[in-house]
Subunit: 691 residues, 2 copies
């Protein structure tokens, strides 16, 4: 939303020539918001006053729907408009009464708003606005941020301060941040916000809190954003004074129906519920020997008359089962395929475990044919260095979207599952667990904003490449200087592989600190359940390291399509970047590079640190091109990232060395602390651990 | 720190004539900070580039110390400079080589910084800068903010978000807010910050955390601000692995000595400790049958060689004693007078209870002759409507400072106790419990900033009047338009009496909600100890209301000087604004107004609400003179204040009515809810309650 004056004089002159006036219909709050945004944006970018005119002159921007604007109606854009649906837009260079105009048109006011933001983005990113002919519609219907925000304003796994929702002063006080949040989301096409934590609190469903939620919904509505809540499954007991929360009990069903009807009296366009049930201690239908489908359908029935949906999370693993944790979600949900009501989607994390730096895609993608699956990504960097590491996530997201499930033969990508095209579902969704807090810069790390941006852009159009998204974001954030854009893009695009290398190379996973998840702790083995312990996941011993999930091991691989099974089963065809995810591999195993596994592990950890140091050099080269405050800020953050990358590298290698008994190759810098030193580090107040 | 262009053209022209260049010595980080501030400030205010010159020209500002600046040294200002001490400054219009100059001079670099801020304030508040002859030195030596900030970033009794200290990213990441915080404090002369909660955590004393504290100290040092910590009395056990924390035990003394020596290796100018001991469950010397003096002196001995001080809080009341809670601090501390080491001050809350809207001054003021007493005010509005009520505290602070203790005869004001002049103490101090959080505007309510400002200005010069302080603050915050200044001043200056009236008129106290202290709960009687219950304090019954603290009651009055005792003992001479503080008064008691007590109580509660409604009207009249965002923000906050004032009024009167059995006079608007409704309100997530 930085509308700084364009500093390329030629471009500025050309833009000024093409935009001399703006025609905007009077109308709804959404149209007013779009008009204000266009005016503010153009005045900032072009450095001149922009008046909203009534007479059409040359070089006009004409904005609106067929319904709200006679000029738009007269331009004959029906054919283009049929392509863009309810939320999309058309931007067209055309003529009206012999005058050159740029039309920004849509079928709805929200579509107009999206079009205005897109037009501003063209200017912000230095693109031509001659001969425009753009039609754009979202590929995915539900594009959401999931906030893990508690009612006391702590944010579970939040590293950017505390919740931006100040429940105490709502509904009477509307913080400017709520408006700016909605503007930012609308600018990238996000159309829904789940404002409460999946580890839910029933209090949000009381009258007092629904009034607060309604006040937020009123702000969001203008920007085309619907509000969603998380549903505490035991709410009928906790606030409804019932004796049970059994989803087949008539009193319980009636309680939820009444509650949901009540919600719609406060919020007529309420989006629905996101539910975490029977997962990590949360209550759920299995407490009453009912299935996830029974639970989901109870909500679905009550929501259906109002047009609301249920997003039922597939992130479940049993407290009792000795089964490989990674197999459990599939085992639970695959048999339920076809049993969910029409307005239920099952929301699946990108990988089978938990937002690790690299995971294979979840085997549920492709496996459930009758159930719409929503994608859940994590923008907040629970496992990616909190908010002090620069990690651009587009490559991670794209790796999953581009993955081939082979579900309907070769070319059945995860993206096709998610956008509904593979099995013809009309419900489609992509959610990101928000990385937003009340820090002044929203995300703690300025580059965290790029991940929020990515979620919006990819959920609108998953064909965009990581490089395209980075390029757009850099230009809007730091300006259009080519050298700067290239350098920052290089940093961003290499950052995800860097974090994989200095944290969990070669398919390692879940070796972080216990509870708070800060820093490395591959040695940790004190958690109450086996599958919360790093040692459960890396299985290092004198012979080798890695988790055998082939047919000779837990056979987790059986949950994938035969083509993938075959490829991963064989250690010689298994991609090395997931080798230890699927195989227990001997320390002397020869890698493609010619190095032994141990040497390769050392190589990867050291190259992860080297990548960070390269990013530091690249950033330092930009001192003159970035304002002093942001330059210094990011420089300090990169220094922390370097320090922590070294910490990961040293402590992991020193620990794994106690099994491999092999030396760190002599050409590498020596660890500057002992393993004992690292084991004794303590973080009693690490952030993001609040309930 | 708003350096907006001066919009009075005549004044602007005159300032521009008087300030054409600036001469600044090169030098220390503090001088660089002062130079940057002067340059930024002048460029903003005068709307032109200000260059730092080497040649003296006409209309120069010449800045520095005798030591750092040859020009200053040549101006013969020795006489003035001897008056302003280490932190004060001289601002003088004079001539040098036939050129008109304004000299900003001091004996130290920090004094220069203070002088620069004062000079900028002259411009910001539209004062003349002709023929300046200002000498200014602080009347009080230690001018402090006490942060009740926990290491998990919750702030006890904080209503402006969460702690600005991001301990997790310290010491490597220096948030711009730390710098801005230091600038803001320096601009009003605050020279110390206790950065941790008095309900202390020993972790802050570990090596890892001391490195973080040192990073903050490095930022603050440049701005003349020392850092202080709170000392957890049981730290030798908790992190020192000793078996005892007995202050007379040699191992314990040695542990603290070593710990304090260690602190000074990290922070050579560490200020010292603020300690809450044997109070509300905190550990302390009495756990070992030692006195508060024994405890304080242990710290004092270890701090003395480094120049550090101990601030020992007098806020103690026993868990076991059935004595009137208000008498206990005096009973504990008065006998210890003379037993504290030289570098110990006892820090006393302004009143004997706990920061209520109105209290008499604490009887310790004047009673302790051999011990320096520091004043503790509370800026955060624990009992004054949190951060949604506009309450300007200068009148409250001044009421206490101006109060006559009669300790050395008539005219022995609390101010003279605090500034050390009454008993000739060289230690003198005033602290405010900070109202600062990570909200974008620092204090949640924009007018909260005025209280922070007041603390700084009053601790520098307690002779300033409330009106002067309000005037200065308004001009710097909203501009110099006379109508606006007058209107906002009226709102501010009446706001304290308003909150007294709608919350606790006529000397009522401690009738707020239990635990979180949000809203009224005069009916509450379920707390584990009697003196945490509102009913303990108001003592309403069928006969009347109020707490008899005269000689016929608890005789708390005996702790005051005879002159005061006499005045308050007699119901006919007792000031009515503290009537129920000292007397149990019958519902039919005739007040000076001619009304009965019950009628007067109704009158006061209703007039409190009326005052808020008047403030709303006054604010609304300023719509054209205040920027849209701040106008709307404060309008919303005033609406909350009005709603909550009505809530206080209605629920208190309906409750007290159950005792008085008298009607609310017919000319008043009727309560719109029942007493039961108010009693059933519930605030599970009220802010500021975090530990």
């Amino acid at each position: 939303m930085r509308y700084d004056l364009i500093n390329n004089n030629q471009l500025l002159a050309s833009y000024r020539n093409s935009v001399t006036s703006v025609h905007f219909p009077v109308g709804t709050p959404t149209l007013v918001a779009a008009k204000d945004e266009l005016q503010t944006g153009l005045e900032g970018l072009l450095g001149r006053k922009i008046l909203i005119q009534t007479n059409l002159s040359n070089a006009s921007i004409v904005v609106g729907t067929v319904k709200s604007s006679n000029i738009i109606a007269s331009l004959g854009m029906d054919q283009q408009l049929t392509k863009v649906g309810e939320e999309g837009f058309v931007i067209l260079t055309t003529k009206k009464d012999q005058k050159n105009v740029i039309a920004i048109a849509a079928n709805s006011d929200v579509g107009v708003l999206h079009g205005v933001f897109h037009f501003l983005r063209l200017l912000q990113t230095g693109q031509t606005i001659q001969n425009l002919s753009i039609t754009s519609a979202p590929k995915i219907k539900y594009r959401l941020l999931d906030h893990w925000d508690n009612l006391n304003r702590s944010v579970e796994r939040g590293y950017a301060g505390f919740s931006i929702w100040n429940w105490h002063t709502l509904p009477d006080y509307i913080d400017q941040r709520y408006i700016d949040y909605a503007r930012a989301n609308a600018s990238i096409g996000i159309n829904g916000a789940v404002v409460t934590n999946v580890n839910a609190n029933a209090t949000i469903l009381t009258k007092e809190y629904l009034e607060k939620v309604a006040a937020l919904a009123n702000v969001f509505r203008t920007y085309g954003i619907k509000i969603y809540l998380t549903g505490r499954f035991s709410a009928p007991i906790e606030i409804g004074k019932l004796k049970t929360a059994d989803p087949l009990n008539e009193d319980v069903k009636r309680w939820w129906k009444n509650k949901i009807d009540e919600i719609y009296t406060y919020i007529p366009d309420f989006g629905g519920f996101l539910i975490k049930a029977n997962s990590e201690g949360q209550p759920g239908p299995q407490d009453y020997k009912r299935s996830h489908a029974d639970g989901a359908n109870m909500f679905a029935e009550a929501l259906a008359p109002h047009g609301g949906i249920v997003m039922w999370r597939a992130f479940v693993y049993s407290n009792e089962s000795p089964e490989d944790r990674l197999k459990q979600a599939y085992a639970e949900f695959k048999p339920l395929d076809g049993k969910f009501n029409d307005n239920v989607a099952v929301q699946v994390k990108n990988g089978p475990l938990d937002f690790q730096p690299r995971e294979p895609f979840s085997p549920l993608f492709g496996a459930m044919t009758k159930t719409p699956l929503f994608m859940e990504y994590q923008l907040t960097q629970e496992y990616l260095g909190f908010s002090t590491h620069l990690v651009f996530m587009a490559p991670l997201f794209k790796e999953v979207l581009d993955a081939d499930t082979y579900a309907k033969g070769k070319g059945s990508t995860v993206a096709q599952v998610i956008d509904g095209s593979l099995y013809g579902h009309s419900l489609s969704g992509m959610a990101g667990v928000a990385n937003i807090g009340n820090d002044i810069d929203w995300t703690g790390h300025p580059f965290g904003q790029a991940n929020w941006y990515t979620l919006g852009r990819l959920s609108w159009d998953h064909d965009l490449s990581s490089a395209q998204i980075a390029n757009e974001w850099i230009r809007q954030t730091f300006g259009n200087d080519k050298g700067l854009v290239d350098t920052v893009a290089k940093m961003m695009l290499s950052s995800r592989e860097a974090v994989v290398n200095y944290m969990t190379p070669l398919g390692l996973h879940h070796i972080m600190g216990y509870g708070h998840h800060y820093g490395p702790a591959p040695w940790f083995d004190k958690a109450s359940r086996a599958d919360w312990n790093p040692v459960y996941f890396h299985r290092a011993d004198s012979i080798g390291i890695g988790f055998d999930r082939t047919s000779k091991g837990t056979n987790y691989l059986s949950q994938y399509a035969p083509e993938l099974r075959k490829k991963y089963e064989d250690i010689s065809t298994c991609p090395e970047d997931l080798l230890l995810w699927f195989h227990h591999v001997s320390w002397n195993h020869k890698m493609k590079s010619g190095r032994t596994l141990w040497e390769e592990l050392c190589y990867k950890y050291y190259s992860g640190v080297d990548s960070v140091r390269r990013m530091q050099k690249e950033w330092n080269s930009l001192e003159k091109q970035v304002d002093k405050q942001r330059f210094q800020q990011i420089k300090m953050l990169l220094a922390i990232q370097e320090k922590e990358a070294v910490w990961w590298r040293n402590s992991c290698l020193l620990y794994f060395q106690t099994f491999s008994k092999m030396p760190i190759p002599p050409n590498y810098e020596k660890p500057d602390h002992t393993l004992e030193y690292y084991k004794n580090l303590n973080f009693p107040f690490a952030p993001g651990n609040g309930k």
